[in-house]
Symmetry: C2
Subunit: 342 residues, 2 copies
């Protein structure tokens, strides 16, 4: 039996799994959260213990690695991690090859997840596809002619930072109206929070005393209701009025429960992704878009807006499908398996 | 000597040239304008006469063809021409192979021009590039891993119809704020015309009698001048006040001569291209962007805005260069030559 070892350095979690070549089920699987004060050394130490626990004295034929951050895939050197310090210029491929004496492939998580979905998931049988993950960030990975396309400097796939609304809100990257600024979970939460706070600020500017804020909100709710709308009450309810606790997932839940303010935020996220996808379709004309990540589980409404907008933006002659990813959190691990055979 | 025959069905013009393999100079070259009432038959007839005039009894080793419209490159079948009727589903590759008994390659002009610049022009030595032509339309062609990337359905490269300003003016394709809507020559002329007509309409709505329109314009010009601006007078002067005669090139000329209104229109075009290029850089991370077409000859000012905006939109880690095409109108013919060897 030929064993493949797959590793996933995910930033907040570490996972390792082992599979027989050709199998679609993990032989063994281990997973650990990164400790609060993780650095590259602690990550590597934990991963090493996962590996030895998996191997149980056997030797894999190859090791594939998904890393949550920029990687030079040609040398297998990690450039840095945005989550964990100490990963600057770590030659991960060489470290693992030295220790385990087998060939190792390393690439960043978006590229590897794209490869995973292409080989084992929603992209099987499609030799051109764009995989998009919409989660705490928005990233993407290309498969063209059945192979990863990483770009001249390994930076391809950054759909999160294409601009879809030059008049939109300012993103961490400094630009306005990036896809990520409108569609990532944390930014969706922030967008909802800002609308709700403006409602409060508006009350404050009219010198509504704090004691009457509840009445004020009731008044606003009545006004919304007269227009047939729900104005964030469901969303407020989900966090017990503590807006700091808002998350993208709660925005999705409130939208599903009929909260119009949450729907507005969620639809704007779906709109941004739809414009991005339609633009990418016109530029690259891939067969499929495969969408993963927590935000894409927001429900039918989200998918309908996204599909409609993408079709509006794409030229009528440009055909494509947008489908949900199927491998979930295991996409990078399955991609790591695929990485060992290309 | 091995001869290659290159053909360019350009919509408004037909060109054919012959070259020795390995040479970078045309052995012979012929060019004709399409007649006013051209159809596919007349185009083919004219091209046939150009070919026989070039061949002078010799036989080429292969024929490469650039066609100004969508083509199924795998079968060499023209889908249609947007300029000349009768080209629907014409099997151009088979027609030419039957008549001349040599292998023929056919592709659309943007892909072929990209290949020409890649093999013989501004993209030589770069194995990933995006070629953009900015002329009466805005189109593009990809070279990835040293080969054309045409997309799953042959539709890749349509940068003209990616949306960069969802609040922008409506394009012929039905969307708002496409790159082409802001940056093509005819649309630049239209944008300038609409600003100038609004100036006139504004005078009309204030019931300025036609006889006083000149005074009104002088008044507006004085107002612009007080702000240190020129308000379209140079542009009006170039067309003798007949706004129907405006062209993209005249907008460029007026901008170069210091007309602030023309500059505004030209800068918006450069901005749209810059956003498009920055977005493409983030998505695909090619080494180079090669820009051809009449609009890109608009001068330093145009290039400066375009470069600045593209750098602002691209992530700091994404490197690329934007350079002017060097083959001019011959890019499709040189690409047709390259098409015979891949």
């Amino acid at each position: 039996m030929t064993l493949i070892l797959a590793l996933d350095f995910g930033g907040t979690k570490l996972a390792a799994a082992m599979v027989n070549v050709g199998s679609r089920e993990w032989l063994r699987y281990e997973r650990r959260l990164s400790p609060a004060k993780a650095d590259a050394s602690t990550d590597l130490e934990i991963m090493r213990s996962l590996i030895y626990s998996l191997l149980q004295g056997t030797k894999p034929a190859a090791i594939g690695v998904s890393f949550g951050g920029p990687v030079d895939a040609s040398t297998g050197t990690v450039r840095l991690s945005h989550h964990v310090p100490g990963w600057e210029n770590i030659p991960l491929k060489h470290l693992l090859e030295d220790e385990f004496g087998v060939p190792v492939g390393v690439d960043n998580d978006a590229n590897v997840a794209a490869l995973g979905e292409h080989r084992f998931g929603a992209g099987e049988g499609y030799d051109s596809l764009f995989y998009i993950t919409v989660s705490t960030g928005v990233g993407g990975g290309w498969i063209l002619n059945g192979k990863p396309w990483r770009g001249a400097g390994g930076m391809a796939g950054e759909i999160g930072h294409i601009v879809v609304d030059p008049a939109g809100p300012v993103c961490l990257c400094g630009k306005r109206g990036c896809v990520e600024r409108l569609a990532s979970g944390p930014y969706m939460a922030q967008n909802a929070r800002e609308i709700l706070e403006n409602v409060d600020a508006s009350a404050a500017s009219r010198r509504v005393p704090p004691s009457r804020l509840l009445c004020e909100r009731l008044r606003q709710r009545e006004a919304f209701r007269r227009e047939g709308r729900q104005g964030g009450e469901i969303l407020r309810g989900l966090v017990g009025d503590d807006l700091k606790l808002l998350t993208g997932q709660l925005v999705s839940e409130a939208a599903a429960a009929g909260d119009d303010l949450a729907k507005e935020v969620l639809h704007k996220a779906a709109w941004a992704l739809g414009v991005g996808i339609g633009n990418v379709a016109n530029l690259m004309n891939p067969q499929r878009f495969v969408l993963g990540g927590g935000v894409t589980k927001a429900g039918d409404d989200f998918w309908q807006v996204l599909q409609r907008v993408a079709l509006e933006i794409a030229l009528p002659e440009v055909d494509f499908e947008i489908v949900p990813a199927v491998l979930g959190d295991d996409a990078p691990l399955w991609g790591a398996v695929a990485l060992t055979s290309i």
